[in-house]
Symmetry: C3
Subunit: 344 residues, 3 copies
């Protein structure tokens, strides 16, 4: 869809500075602007790009006064970044307006589906499933028996939710996310392993986003719990009986071992890992690739493997790079001491 | 389904101590017990919880004598843990009793399917596939041409097994597991890569469990081999031509490079990685996040990246944290030696 | 399919040395040769195996003269390795000759599909999708609205390509690969996160191979770009707005954070990770498990976490293992210096 600068200014209650009839059909970054796209200038640091950008329209703050000629049409608004975010969300919603039940989907007669839902073709909705209103389930999703899903959720293609898991409102699951697979639990019997049935479930509260191909295992008993507002990136592993506090965020490829309990508002860098049964306090940051093997309190920042407070890590790390120099110093002092001994 | 304490006691040949008509429909841990659930007390360490738990029924050993009043109904059995495991397995089986061929599945006429199988809707079974008895294939699985699968297997949704792979009896594949994708093999041609066809397969023996979204690549020629009793967690990568010995277990996000040969009864911690072509002896443990770059013998325990015997690792690691102190000691000694030299 | 030694020799313009009627139906490595298979001897290092192999046929260079009796039938060709590669490719193609549109697929009427394509059952092809000639899309793939795919591509089962992504010619996507999922982008609002719509796409140029269960996120705006000839292994994470230069190769479980720009002909070892917004020059190698936190120039080799030039890494690492010895030396020197002081 194409829009003119005037149409966009009208939506934003902004004013046009330049050709009101120029049209755009996409967004761009100001430094990579293409004709036919709309970009924005919010951070003065990027001002130089506005004089070069090939973008057709630039959203600017009302008080922006160019110091050189600008080729693009400007739309002046009180807050260019907020105006952009507003436009992005309108476009985002318009692209995700799918509705209706696919004729090639497989929905158990006992399932209850809310209003204005989308169930794509080749999706399976099991026995006694309930799905709230306005939830969108893309093709090839599998919703196991007894699962509850709230309102306004999006499940992209190939999401699998095993039986009896519970999902809140406003959650997003990216393609290939697996919720409720068996925890990795075995009893040893001599040299072999005997599987311990995993009969709990996964509970995901409201406003959670789960990345593509991320896996969250069901609890042995009770629940693996992902609290409200948690954001998890792609290819993350959450083991059985883990509990993650509200608004904690995890970057890609993080691994959390069984029965770990994590506080609220924590941040995990990519590829970091936690050993089993740990407790992590609120507002704590775990650096990328850190390997955590002991409990961590509140408001800590840890790095390294095994992970230590980031100050200790940096202190040791700086010196780590001087090891060859230290080694030589030691060798030199050894001989100096020998010489001193002889001289005495 | 709900059961009374009396019904459960009858199944377990136990005796009821309390209300025989109280009902439960789920399990719980004793420290997180909820009304309507059954829990157990096997380890005396947890005894204090039995006086507080809200669970409706607690399985206890016959000789348990409470030291305070207990609200829950007790069922006395000779071994509370074994009785629980027995109940868990009954419930687990009852939840996985699906049977029959989905009317919306796609099964090649040449495929041979054993008795009492379940083939879910939207699953594809290719040409000349054979599937044993009592095997359950959930929706959205892809079984490529010429694949053989044994008896009593479970393939959860979205499992893909490429052509010509062979799977034994009693195997479990969690959702999104990929078996038999091409190994990562390329010949360089100047600056570009030329793909080497990967014409081998994957052979998985009996009693193997493969985690969600784990990937196991087919061999260039011959087979990538996963021997009997191996247990692999989620998001693990097994490259082409790897061989994993019986009863070896791997935690999540482990990565095994091409042509590695691993012995029996080994254990791999999460996120550990092995370089290509290595040999790992029997009964060896690789710690979480270890990076193994050389062969390891039998019964070793290694840590770190590059991985070294855990004793060496711990010895160096303890001192690593004293590096700033060592650095200062060296600087101090340098000046002391200078002074001594002057004094002489 | 079975072939005689004579039939194979005719295809390769080779000559048979032994029984021309012996038949084979598969390939093997010379050290693991089985009856009924064809193997090859190219590297003189492996010559001893030719006297023991159970393979029925061995391709050898024309000038090979055995020093002991050989049981297998030989086929003499000018270059045994090239002849093998030629046979492998013939067999590989014959196994991937699927064609036609599955009657249980879901193709939007506006989609344009080229000639000689294969669209497997239960695949979804969205609105305004275009697919070139001779492209093979296996069952359970999801191709979102507005996606363009070129000629001669292969998409194995369970590949998901979100809306508006663009794929070149001759690309291979292994099972479970996810292209165009949302980047992990949130604005903090007090303690909570507000999702930033991800409205860009992913552009993949010609001759790219993407491994099983690998995830590539779409850009916020503009494109995440994978240039011509890039090869990516399984379970790799590519974040939003990343750009990967031509012919760069990445082993399994690599993680690339947002907005990283990587040059051409780089190589990434398994499980390595890059922090956001970095620039990596051409022809640079990142070792397995390395953690890169700063820009790297051209033709570098880096190791470790944080990653440093491999020479520095090895220098410090060698000494790291001598830390206990250094610590003892320091303690010893301290007391020696004290004694010297006293003696003066």
């Amino acid at each position: 869809m194409e829009f003119t600068a005037q149409q966009i200014a009208d939506v934003l209650n902004g004013t046009v500075d330049g050709n009101p009839n120029v049209t755009v059909n996409n967004f761009s970054k100001i430094e990579e602007g293409q004709p036919g796209t709309l970009t924005f200038l919010a951070n003065p640091k990027y001002e130089s790009y506005i004089y070069q950008t090939a973008a057709s329209i630039v959203l600017v703050n009302s008080d922006f006064s160019p110091t050189s000629p600008v080729g693009a049409t400007l739309i002046r608004v009180p807050n260019a970044y907020k105006a952009l975010a507003f436009l992005l969300e309108i476009v985002d919603k318009s692209r995700k307006n799918k509705e209706g039940i696919g004729s090639m989907s497989d929905i158990h007669p006992s399932a209850r589906i809310g209003e204005k839902c989308y169930i794509g073709n080749f999706s399976c909705i099991g026995e006694n499933v309930t799905i709230g209103s306005n939830t969108k389930i893309y093709p090839h999703c599998y919703i196991g028996d007894g699962v509850n899903i709230g309102d306004n959720c999006i499940l992209y293609p190939h999401v699998a939710i095993y039986n009896d898991c519970r999902i809140g409102d406003n959650c997003i699951f990216h393609a290939g996310a697996i919720i409720g697979s068996d925890g990795f639990g075995f009893a040893t019997e001599g040299d072999t392993y005997h599987k311990i049935p995993q009969l709990g479930n996964v509970v995901i509260e409201d406003d959670v986003e789960i990345g593509a191909n991320t896996t969250i295992d069901r609890a042995v008993m009770n629940s693996t719990i992902i609290h409200k507002g948690v954001k998890i990136d792609n290819l993350v592993q959450i083991a059985h009986n883990v509990e993650i506090g509200p608004n904690t965020a995890m970057a890609a490829q993080v691994g959390i071992s069984g029965s770990v309990k994590i506080g609220r508002n924590c941040r995990f860098g990519g590829q970091s890992g936690l050993a089993g049964h740990l407790r992590i306090g609120d507002n704590t940051s775990i650096s990328a690739q850190a390997g955590v093997i002991s409990d961590i309190g509140e408001k800590q920042t840890v790095m390294g493997a095994p992970a230590v407070p980031s100050k200790s890590f940096m202190r040791s790390y700086v010196i780590y790079n001087r090891l060859p120099e230290m080694y030589r110093a030691i060798e030199k002092m050894k001989s100096e001491i020998e010489q001193l001994k002889k001289q005495l």
